[in-house]
């Protein structure tokens, strides 16, 4: 059974450290070109169709800004 996932990033709290990007096994996450009010670029789903909801990104996020959702398809 395949899993389909999605993440929601708290854009104002994200510091754009990029630790989630290298820890994503499906290479889903990228950094935005625009910045938040603190001047940081933010993580976002650059390839949303690849996300399996494995939670690795949220597990390593130091600032707990990522919420993960997952469904069976």
């Amino acid at each position: 059974m395949a899993m389909k996932g999605a993440i929601v990033v708290d854009r104002e709290r994200c510091k754009g450290c990029g630790v989630c990007i290298v820890n994503c096994p499906a290479k889903v996450i990228g950094l935005t070109k625009e910045v938040n009010s603190k001047g940081y670029p933010m993580s976002y789903m650059a390839n949303p169709e690849e996300c399996t909801g494995c939670t690795n990104c949220a597990t390593v996020c130091p600032d707990s800004v990522i919420t993960v959702y997952r469904v069976k398809v």
Partner: protein, 253 residues
């Protein structure tokens, strides 16, 4: 399937732990402190001990940890967290007491307090965040700085003849009869984070069972102190810190 159909409350599998407060962490982007704070909060939530936990914050970047984890905190003078934890645990033996300290705090000015608390076998948990420098004050050499490591006070690298050897404080602690669980973990990837969380949980359970002191060293990165990006700092840590500070359990009884 559309993303909007996935993002629904009933499909949520992971999110911010409610034991963490709403404040934005003051730590630098990618700092290991945030990840370790989160793990502590998650373990406290899972064990249902939010109103029974007393933590002691150090001097160092984590001095403000009381702003982020919604439990009772005391803030210790530099290095004295283990002494404060001893007092808190002896007065409130039914509480869970842990200290959260950096390597500059625990292994330099706090060596005496730490070693004697561990030797007495106080039923507390000690978390050592080892990033091999004094992060808060600008990246000076700490006792745990690696040989040859460039810091702001060793600009040509740590010289053994001048500065002495890096101190494997966790290996020293493991020799003491008062400790029941001594381990060295890290938080640079998801697998490591999950292992560290298990170690923290085990340490809290040991404390409830009065088995003695549990000591967890978390090998961490300080990307701003090391002058690297967060991702490069984690890579540098894997390449340089792990060969010297080997991960794994040193003692489990």
């Amino acid at each position: 399937m559309d993303v909007k159909d996935i993002i629904k409350p009933e499909n949520k599998v992971y999110g911010k732990c409610p034991v963490l407060t709403e404040r934005v962490l003051h730590y630098c982007p990618g700092c290991s402190h945030g990840t370790i704070h989160k793990l502590l909060a998650e373990v406290i939530q899972e064990m249902g001990i939010q109103d029974k936990t007393i933590a002691i914050s150090p001097v160092g970047c984590a001095v403000f940890a009381y702003n982020y984890i919604d439990i009772d905190w005391q803030q210790a003078p530099h290095g004295r967290a283990a002494a404060l934890a001893t007092g808190a645990k002896r007065i409130c033996p039914d509480k869970y007491v842990f200290t959260y300290q950096g390597d500059g705090d625990l292994s330099a000015i706090g060596t005496a307090e730490t070693i004697h608390a561990c030797n007495r076998g106080e039923n507390i948990v000690i978390i050592l965040v080892n990033n091999a420098i004094y992060g808060m004050t600008g990246g000076q050499m700490s006792p745990l700085t690696l040989e040859g490591q460039v810091t702001s006070t060793t600009p040509y690298g740590r010289d053994i003849a001048l500065n002495g050897y890096p101190l494997k404080i966790t290996n020293l602690i493991a020799q003491l009869d008062g400790t029941c669980y001594v381990t060295r973990q890290s938080v640079q990837n998801a697998a490591a984070v999950r292992k560290t969380k298990k170690a923290i949980r085990k340490a809290f359970e040991n404390s409830a069972q009065k088995k003695g002191t549990s000591f967890i060293e978390v090998v961490s990165s300080c990307n701003s102190g090391w002058k690297l990006s967060p991702v490069d700092a984690n890579k540098w840590m894997e390449d340089n810190m792990f060969p010297f500070y080997e991960l794994g359990d040193l003692k489990d009884k």
